[in-house]
Each structure stands twice: as C-alpha cells, then as structure tokens.
Point group: C2
Chain length 388, copies 2
C-alpha cells in the first residue's frame, strides 16, 4: 500500500491522478490533498478518500471548507501546502501545483525524504540544481509526470547515459504551427486555449501555443536527466503520438508512443517500476495512418529560444524566464498584451536581470518575485505607451 499526498488535487493533473488512484484502492491510500481554492471538488475528494490532512492555499476558501465539518485537519496558505507535502505518513508526493507556487512544497517534500511524482515543472525550471541535489542527498526518486519526460524515462529504462547522444522532446506545435507568422499578432486567448491534442489547464495551453511549454520542458529535462541543453532537441509532431525519444550514440532511436492522454504518464509514475493494466486504449498506428514531424520555426516561437538562452546562462535566469512568462501569460489572458508580446515581455525582463548563483531557495524566490515585478512594469509601461 503506497500512501500518497496530492498537491494540486483539483487541477487537470490532480483530477487525473485521483482517477488513477481511485481505480486501485488496493494499492494506494490518499493521506493528503492540497488545492488552491476549488473547495467544492476538494470536498468530494475528501469524502471519497478520507485523507489525514487537507491544505487549501486560499485562506478564505480554507475557512469556508472548515465550516463543512468534514472531520479532517484543514490547513492553509503556503504553510498548509508544506504540511500536506511533508506528512509523516506519505510515501509519495504528487507535485501538481500549477506554476511557481509549487516550488517550495515540492522542495520541502524532498527534504522530508518523500519520493516525488513531478508534474510541477517549475520546481526544476526555477531551482533544478537545488532540487536535484537535495533529491540525491536524501535518496529521493523524482519520477516525471510530464508526458515527454515520462517518455524519456521509459525510453532510457535504466540504460547507461554514456550511450545517450541526445534526447528529443516532441511538441504538438499547439494550435498555430500551420498559421503564418504574420497572423500571430492577432491571436486571441480563445484561439490559444483551443489545443488540438491535449486537454490541459489555461496556463499550459498558452505555453503550448507559444512553445514556452516546450522551452520549460527542455530546462526540466536538462535537470531531470543531467544533460546539457545542446543534448536536448525539440521536434514538432502535431499528432502527439510519439511523446519523446532518445537518440543513442550508434544512431538508434528509442521512442515512446501512446494515444495522447495524461493518465498514461500519471499511471506510470504511480505504478513504476511496474505498469498498470489497460490504462489507455491500445494504439492502432494503421488507424492513425501518419505521423508527421517538422523542425520548430524559431521565428514563430521565440519563446523556445529564450528558454535555451536561459538554461545556457544558468543561475537564476531560468527562474526569471519562468516568472516573466507567468506574468505575461496572465496579461495575455486578461487581454492586456498581444500573443506576440509574451516573448517580448520575457526577453526584456531577462535582459534587465543580473544573474545570480541559485544557491538557496530564497535566492531563487527573490529572483522570481523581482522578475514578476519587472515583467509587470514592462507590461504597464507598454500599456501607457499604447494609451498615450
């Protein structure tokens, strides 16, 4: 019986995790649940799994949930998330909080010796060096939940990394890979939220449309598999059937495929080193017919280059990239900036940043907060320019 705490239980990954776990009551017990503010869904999860501790990030929502009298400890704020992440009773923490708020709980879970099923790529993008060093020190397994990294993990299957030439992350290309670059300026949030192959949250859908999602995944992959950025390639593959590949020194390539469904990688992180039965429908390639591939057009997707720049620069730069992107995506969803402004805001924020060594979580968080402010200022100054 594996005892699990789920951080981000009401999000897209969290809900899928709950579904997978619910199918294997003999194998898992949910001991902790944490969410931002969706207490109605959280309530039904509490009634179903009877965890020991529940954390609600939003204080007011936590207070409302406490009034429901659910006979469970309900904590709140970042402190609450950390409590759910470090439960004595948990063996594995599913880290699925969207964005930078996921960093500290994930880091604390590792410090508490919990194995991690990692969906919150920001933990590695912001503080990969610290997180992986801590995991190594505590003998903690960081199991990837992102479909690409799960694919790489499954392709590697314990092989000698000296035999690995490169890894190749596939990208669906989002909804716009066929659009001409001249049409990018006019892309609306509604256009960008319509992802062709994956059903995801809003932030990740936009990141997928800008290819920043792939950029963040490149950074995540560098940390997760201990590879320099020049060994991590990206290829567009609109059908999202091949989830990623490993190229070996002899020219052979091992690829991982399945129908695109996040239940696949989530299940694997939970079942590892085994596999569950019939998680996904069988892949019928003859029915799929064709798999296509194209090189990413970096003129259309400058965010991908910015991510490579950030990881090559190192230190606090990837953290700044991520922070500026979070702010820019929010502004785009609020219709304050255009689709093509997103990489512009990130690039300007990065240019203004003086890189520090990421030697503590505080350094990282300070850099992130400062970058958020700067990104906001860049957006505001642009708005005032537009108005005037």
């Amino acid at each position: 019986m594996k005892r699990i705490s789920i951080l981000g239980a009401t999000g897209s990954i969290g809900r899928n995790t709950v579904e997978v776990i619910g199918g294997h009551p003999d194998k898992f017990r949910v001991v902790g649940l944490a969410a931002k503010n969706n207490i109605s869904l959280l309530e039904s999860q509490i009634r179903r799994f009877r965890p020991e501790v529940v954390a609600v990030y939003d204080e007011a929502a936590a207070e409302r949930l406490r009034k429901k009298d659910l006979h469970v400890e309900i904590c709140s704020g970042e402190e609450g998330l950390v409590r759910a992440a470090t439960l004595n009773n948990a063996d594995l923490v599913v880290s699925a909080i969207v964005g930078s708020p996921g960093l500290v709980p994930t880091y604390e879970a590792i410090r508490a010796g919990k194995d991690i099923a990692l969906a919150t790529k920001e933990a590695l993008v912001m503080a990969g060096g610290l997180v992986m060093a801590e995991a190594a020190r505590r003998g903690v397994r960081v199991l990837p939940v992102d479909s690409e990294h799960s694919a790489i993990f499954q392709c590697l299957n314990g092989r000698d990394m000296k035999e690995v030439e490169k890894i190749v992350l596939t990208a669906s290309g989002g909804p716009f890979y066929r659009k001409h670059i001249s049409e990018f300026e006019a892309i609306t949030p509604e256009d960008a939220l319509r992802h062709p192959t994956w059903d995801m949250g809003r932030k990740i859908s936009i990141d997928s449309a800008t290819l920043m999602n792939k950029g963040l995944e490149v950074i995540e992959a560098c940390w997760l598999f201990d590879l320099p950025p020049e060994k991590v390639e990206v290829v567009l593959h609109p059908q999202s059937i091949i989830h990623s590949m490993v190229k070996f020194i002899d020219g052979c390539v091992i690829a991982h495929m399945s129908v695109p469904d996040m239940k696949g990688p989530i299940s694997y992180a939970l079942s590892w080193p085994g596999r569950f039965d019939a998680v996904l429908p069988a892949l019928d390639l003859a029915a799929v017919g064709e798999l296509t591939f194209l090189a990413p057009d970096t003129k259309k997707y400058p965010s991908l280059l910015l991510a490579y720049d950030a990881i090559r620069t190192g230190g606090t730069m990837p953290c700044v990239l991520n922070a500026a992107n979070e702010v820019a995506v929010e502004a785009f969803l609020d219709r304050r900036i255009s689709f093509t402004d997103i990489p512009r805001v990130i690039s300007k924020t990065m240019s203004g940043h003086k890189v520090l060594k990421s030697d503590s979580i505080d350094t990282v968080i300070n850099a992130s907060n400062r970058a958020r402010e700067q990104a906001r200022e860049i957006i505001e100054s642009q708005e005032s320019r537009v108005k005037s």
Copy 2:
C-alpha cells in the same frame, strides 16, 4: 577481444558484418569464415583477417580455394560449415547463411556453447523449439540480427515479459504495397527485386515482396521472445524508419527507429550490451517529414496468413512452409511460376503435409526435404498442365 566465426561471410549480412568488425580491430578477432561458393570475396576476407578455419560449402569451389595456398585450413560441405560453427576458439558465431542450409551449423554452434548473432531466421522457423531449448540448456545467448527482432530486443531491454501486451513487427510492404491486387499476377522477378528501402539478397527481396519475409519473422519472433502468434502483429510502414515496437499492458508503446541500414542491428548484436559510436547517420525526423502506417491487406499477401497458420499449427508445419517457399521463390526467379503462384505452391504443400512433432533435427530436416520435393512436384504438375 571477442573471437568470431562468420557463417555466410560473403552474403549481404556477412559483408556488413565484416565491415563492422573491420572497424573495431581492437575488439574482435575473426577466427572462422564460411561461405557457399564466392571464393574470390572469401579470399580477400582471408587475407584481411587471417582466420584459423575457412569453410566453403561448395566442394569444387573449396578445392579451387585450396589451390591458392592461403596457409589456412579449408574445409567443405555441411561438415565444413559445422567445423567453422563449432571452433574451439570462437566466442560468438554470426549465423548468416541464407535459408535452410543455415539450420544445422547454427544448431551445432549452440550445442558447442557459442553465443549466436542470428540472421538466419530459418534456424528458428524450422526448428525454433529445438534451437531455443538447446540455447537455454547451454546458457547460450541468441542475439537477433534481423532489424525487426533487434528492434524488439532493444525495446524490451530486459523488461518483464509479463508487462508486454503485444509486439508489432513493421514491414516496408515491399515494392508493391500500392499496386492493385489485379496487377500482382504479372509481377516479374525484376520488379520484385527492386526493394524500396532495404538492400538485400535476392531470396529475401522476393520474400519481402510477398510479405513471407514478415511471416517468417513472425515465427522467428514467437520463438525468440517466447510469445504466442496472437501476440505478434504486423503493420506496414513503407519508410522503414520504425523497425518494430513493443506494446505494453498499460497502452504505452516503445518503438525502435533508425535510418534503414543493416549495419545498425549487426553492430548492436556485436556490441551488446554496449553500443558502438556513430554506426549510422543520425535520424532527422523533421527531414523525413512523415511516417505512414497501414494494415497489411491479406488478400494481397496470403503468404503472411500462411505463416500465421503454420506457427499456430506448430510441429513441422513452419518448416514445411519455409521449404515450400524456398522452392517456390526459386521457381519464380527462374520464371517457372508467377508471383501469385508462390503462396499457392506453399499452401498446397502445407495442405499435403502430415504434421509431426519437431522432436529432433532429423525430423525437421526430413520434413523440410519432403516438403521441397512436394513443392517441386506441385510446380512441375502445374507446368505440365500449362504446356498441355
């Protein structure tokens, strides 16, 4: 230093093996070479590698080679092949004799405790049960050299077979997968020898055009990976980039890819469990553009169904399938029967066969010889019908 004996040294696989070995003089020493009758090529291989024993199947050719005074033991006939296969000094035997003459030397190499790099699929098609049981008994490794089986072997990478749902062998479909069935009758040997993606010998090129090659590979895979035929699927994939796949119980698929070049699987069998550097050019999927897949049309390719029938029936039936196919392909290359007669001859030969348990190599060889006679009779009776 691995000491190697190459059976079928002057054939397509043998020549590639020699090339790979020649690139790693620090890792390999060629102690034995065996060929059918191409003594001019064999002579240059002898001068290059200075083996201890050379076998020439053809007695007259052996005699001519002996006159060259090459300061090497030259033996001949099947006895000679067996001598080269069982050399005291050999660690690994590359079994690459085309067709049924490869069975006995391969079997004897295993009995002598030699690890096998297996290209001669007939050894498993004819006598898979005997060969694999003997390999298990002697602790002998049978390393696949066929690109499909090497791909499966690399995808499995030691994984638990209980997690394997199915394996999927890819087939290029040969030169005719787009041709309408009504045009199949008129296919000439020249048409059939023009293979689009793989450079192979004549017999295998025809087998590839009829899909019998895939049928034989299905049988080979059943023995090599200890799977029932219903767990071995075939999908057409004209680009020959994905060499085969493993489907796992959870719906995940691991696939092996590379540019199509036999040096890949040959190198892997020799370098296993490691890999050699830069064997094949890097695979650039964006340059390839698309990979396509279609279900094999069994009306166009009845040979594939015959192979499934044969392995399901078991006993001596796969051996009979193989023998009849060898005779039919020869007759087709000699323009004595048409392309569509090939499966007809095989089917008739199989119908006339009373299945025996394959409990000894003699039983198998007798069944094979008898089937060859019957196939010849079927062809002759057809010819006399056509003439009259």
